[in-house]
C-alpha cells in the first residue's frame, strides 16, 4: 500500500466541504457547477477542493467533456479501509499474545 497516497487520502477527507462533495458524488457524477450549488462557496473554490480530492485519488474527472463531470473513485476508499483493517489485525494479534502471557504468569498452560 502506498503510504503517501494514503496520507493524501486522509488529508483530503479531513475537510468538511470535501466530505460533503464526496457525499454528493456518492449519488452520481456531477459537474463543478452542480457541486458548487449547495455550498456558499464559489466554483473556483470548489475546483480547488476537487484538485485535492483528485490528487488523493478519491475522484476522477472526465478529460473529454467540456463540463468535466466528476466521479467518485472507490479504490482509494478501499485502501483507507484496508489500512484500518490492518490496525485491527495488529491489535487482535497483541490480544492473543496477552491472553497467553496472562495464562503463563498465572501458572496456567494453554
Amino acid at each position: 500500500m502506498a503510504t503517501d497516497q494514503l496520507s493524501l487520502t486522509f488529508a483530503a477527507l479531513a475537510n468538511p466541504t470535501r466530505r460533503a462533495i464526496l457525499d454528493r458524488l456518492a449519488k452520481g457524477e456531477a459537474t463543478v457547477a452542480e457541486l458548487a450549488k449547495p455550498f456558499s462557496v464559489s466554483p473556483p473554490a470548489i475546483s480547488r477542493h476537487l484538485k485535492v480530492l483528485e490528487r488523493a485519488g478519491l475522484i476522477s474527472r472526465s478529460r473529454v467533456a467540456q463540463s468535466r463531470p466528476t466521479t467518485l473513485r472507490l479504490e482509494a476508499l478501499d485502501e483507507a479501509d484496508s489500512w484500518m483493517q490492518a490496525c485491527r489485525t495488529t491489535w487482535e494479534g497483541r490480544m492473543d499474545r496477552l491472553g497467553e502471557h496472562l495464562d503463563r504468569v498465572q501458572g496456567r498452560r494453554r
Binding site: 503517501d4 486522509f10 468538511p16 487482535e92 496477552l98 491472553g99
Partner: protein, 146 residues
Amino acid sequence: MKADREVRITRTFDAPRELVFRAWLDPDQIVAWMAPAGLEVPRSSVQVDARLGGRIEYSMVDASSGREHLVVFEIVELSEPELLLFESPAQPEFGFPERISTRVTFEEDGNGTTVTITQTGHTDETIGDADAGWTSILDKLESLLA
C-alpha cells in the same frame, strides 16, 4: 458527523484487573506480548516512563525480514487500574499516515477482566475537532453506496 466506527477490539481475560493493567506498563511483560505473532520485541528497545506525560516506546522486529517498526505510545491519561489513553505520532515511514489515539479500558468481569481498545486516527488538520474521525466518512460513504 461523529466517529461512529473506530477500530474497536474487546477481549475478556481470565485474570484479575490489576494484573492485566500492569502488563501494559512493565517492560519485561511488554516484551512478552506487545507485538502480534511473527514479530518480536527486543528487550533493549523497550523504554517505559509509566506516568502521565510519559511514554511507552519499543520496536517490533520481523525476524524473517529484519524489518523494524518503532511503536510510540504517549501517555495522555493514566488511571490505574481502569484506563490508559495513548497518543501516537504520525509515522508515515511505518505506514501510519496520521496521529492515532488509543483508548484502553479495563473492566472487572466476574473473576476476569474485559479490555476494550478503541483506536481513532486523525490528521493534523483535524486535531481537536470532535467531528473529525476519518472513519466516519468511510462509514457514511459505505452506507450511501450500499
